[in-house]
Symmetry: C2
Subunit: 478 residues, 2 copies
């Protein structure tokens, strides 16, 4: 977790914020949002909102009153208390890639398996720059669909002791996630301090589907954190305009936040953003774009305006391989992620090919980006000691600082030390195989996995979790 | 040229600026700076500074008085008036890579030739994102050393009509650059509005060498712009501390700025920064580092503090090839370059391998970064039109915006269109050859060169320039 005390980079003025306010208000009050779940409709109807079939038209002021009940900052507990994090304020929490059906390992691109899922969770556990493995770090295709969520939660709970994300594919799956977390943390403990943060995507435009709502309701009831995220690829799920998309994002996100607060006032909930654009030539989604960078900076400012923690960012790219595009597009999103002080960052490592692929090598290069940016966003201490006048006195004019006392005392940790980047001169680099970044990253993740140590868990607890998985799998007919 | 009206990202508070002020003042007054050129020493002695051999101890207040005479903003004229630029204020001007002895073309790395020099100037002319080819876009090894500057200036003046950088390798070479510019622009014209901006590196720490001083004096006398740049790789030319290096940078740069103003009050001069660090494991220079990003943000703030235009940034990397590292390191410098509102950006395209290599493919990927960042730093217009409420009304809940009237009216130019980045799906990308970014960039620069059109120049003028080159080459004995 990074506490980012550097300034936020804000590009909207007061007039712009007021225009956006006007924009989202008429969307929720005049157009309304569909909720494809009876309980959700009942909550909203009981709270006085205008429900017409599955369409809900809101009083925007009521939405803001509800949103004001959400905590601006909350604790998300980890199995290992040292890895417990704070969501909100100046804190930035980073989790791995989420939701990819494929993996890439070196030159091979294949359907993701449960073995991949476990390996990627192990990598997320091993790298300290990641605060959480996230949840669906890849979609393991070789375990049965209906009970897959159990396998995933089991791996997340046993192979990592960092906070994790629960299943959101149905109310039942959310209940399973909660039940398993209760075994590990205790029911009272998670009731008091959430142990899960789960991703509720809006089926944009202006629709919440039944599965996500089912999960949202279960998590809200049990005080588990949710990230309510409009899923916005401009040109597909929103207009081809950043301002219009921001207005829609506020409308959709705040409506979900208000629903959570209606179910359980004070329940932790995060203003989510997943905002990029369609490539209008190919119709393909496009990531690491200038528009998404601008959207991200604005989203941070908007979420702070409503005093809510927010989620955005990640090492996003459309590139098919770990090449220059993968590098610069990831940075195109990660720089504004840090500049905006994003509270919860999904997809911070491993994302490739517009999130179709969880990539082992990309995981490593993304960890390098995190390490570098952690370093940039550390406040600079300017004082007599760091001015190092004695070094100038020692070296004088035309000299060299390599042998200075000041240097010798500090050379080990005076600068950022890269993980995968190379500064080798050409001759040495060539002698060592002439490996590009992706090839070097391959060596690093293999070594990291080989050195991985599974965090301790009592045998009884592990058996109990395993028995739950087995029992539920049978009940689910897999 | 970009007029960057977005906010500057500033990370130093008033106390930090005051500490730095204290830092550079004692360097110039107590330690002093060496000037290895008699005329420079005479100028400074006559202005009342304390000269002891080649060492000059300064009155810091005198330095600030001189620096205050430099214009905060000035015009740099181009052969084509449409390409004339403003240096300073909110303006950002981008020039190509400078000073590399090698080139890389695809898989081949070789000593740079004059043919490469001309090709790279043509690329800089062809891409509108570059405001200037710069100067020594590579070091052409196949033309004679003593007269090489003539060949370079000839190519810069004939193959491009954008502003250029003059030779700085000696006073004589600077005079040749001025003489050739006079043929093209007229002596009175360049006297009134500079037609060259030339790079004066400090031989850091705390020393100006005779060749650079010779060139600085010639350019200052003739009102041609210079960029006075401390050359600072922390651990080699400065202490292993960003604050100490910033203090040294101010000391060295302002001393040079003061010298320029002593020679000719009001002459255009730019506060230069070239600040990165040594890799303390290998002893190699390291570029695209977190420390250099922090240094860049601070430099912008400091230069504004002294009301001087400043130079920094570029698409810097230590990578040996156009891979992920080349992509993310270039962004690690280009994001702060834009955030700081850098007025003159050298090395904005083509830099590879710690500036040992001018790379054709990197040139193209760097132009992509420039295009993307231009787009990010365009102010967002939030108003009734961009809120596009009619699109929301048309599409409603659960629909798709691809076919909306609002989309159809705007799909051609609603989003950034990439130059080299690919959003192709995996199958299509594979069918098309499975080319990575570098391979696609190769196709783009070949096509750009093939379509290049030499900007018009009168035959007489071209002959006159050629005759000057031939005559001077003979005089120089090459």
């Amino acid at each position: 977790m990074l506490t980012n005390t550097l300034p936020r980079y804000e590009i909207l003025d007061e007039a712009a914020l007021q225009e956006l306010e006007r924009g989202w208000r008429r969307i929720v009050s005049d157009l309304g949002i569909e909720f494809l779940h009876d309980d959700a409709l009942a909550y909203l109807r009981d709270a006085g909102q205008q429900v017409d079939g599955q369409l809900v038209r809101f009083d925007p002021d009521w939405i803001l009153e509800q949103a004001a009940k959400a905590p601006p900052e909350f604790t998300l507990q980890a199995r290992n208390p040292e890895r417990t994090v704070q969501i909100g304020g100046d804190n930035m929490v980073f989790s791995a890639v989420y939701g990819c059906p494929f993996v890439r390992e070196g030159l091979e691109r294949r359907t993701a398996t449960y073995a991949d899922f476990k390996n990627l969770v192990r990598l997320a556990q091993a790298f300290p720059e990641l605060d959480s493995p996230g949840g669906t770090i890849c979609e393991p295709d070789d375990v049965p669909l209906d009970s897959r969520h159990l396998d995933m939660v089991y791996a997340l709970l046993t192979l990592s002791d960092k906070p994790f994300m629960g299943s959101v594919t149905s109310a039942e799956n959310a209940k399973d996630s909660i039940a398993m977390a209760e075994m590990v943390f205790g029911a009272d403990s998670i009731e008091e301090t959430p142990a899960m943060i789960s991703l509720i995507n809006v089926n944009s435009p202006l629709r919440y589907d039944d599965r996500m709502l089912g999960a949202l309701i279960e998590y809200a009831k049990r005080n588990q954190a949710t990230i309510v995220t409009p899923f916005l690829l401009m040109g597909a799920m929103s207009p081809v305009s950043v301002p219009a998309t921001l207005a829609q994002q506020v409308a959709e996100a705040l409506a979900g936040v208000a629903l959570v607060q209606t179910i359980r006032p004070g329940a932790p909930v995060v203003f989510g953003s997943f905002l990029s654009n369609t490539d209008m030539q190919s119709g393909s989604p496009s990531f690491g774009t200038p528009e998404s960078a601008v959207g991200l900076l604005c989203t941070g400012q908007i979420a702070r305006h409503y005093n809510l923690p927010f989620r955005s960012g990640g090492a996003l790219t459309s590139s098919q391989v770990v090449d220059a595009q993968a590098g610069y597009e990831s940075m195109m999103t990660m720089w504004p992620t840090f500049l905006a002080g994003t509270n919860f960052v999904m997809h911070a490592a491993g994302w490739l090919e517009s999130a179709l692929v969880s990539c082992y090598e990309k995981f490593v290069t993304d960890v390098e980006l995190l390490r570098m940016l952690y370093h940039v966003f550390e406040p600079l201490q300017i004082n007599e000691e760091t001015l190092a006048y004695s070094a100038h006195q020692e070296v004088g004019q035309g000299g060299h600082f390599l042998g200075a006392v000041h240097t010798l005392e500090r050379f080990r940790d005076c600068f950022y030390r890269p993980l995968v980047s190379s500064t080798e001169n050409y001759e040495r680099w060539s002698r060592n195989g002439g490996n590009d970044t992706a090839a070097r990253a391959s060596g690093i993740w293999h070594k990291t996995l080989a050195e991985y140590e599974e965090p301790a868990m009592e045998d009884d607890l592990k058996s109990e979790l395993k028995a739950y998985v087995d029992r539920r799998r049978t009940e689910l007919g897999d």
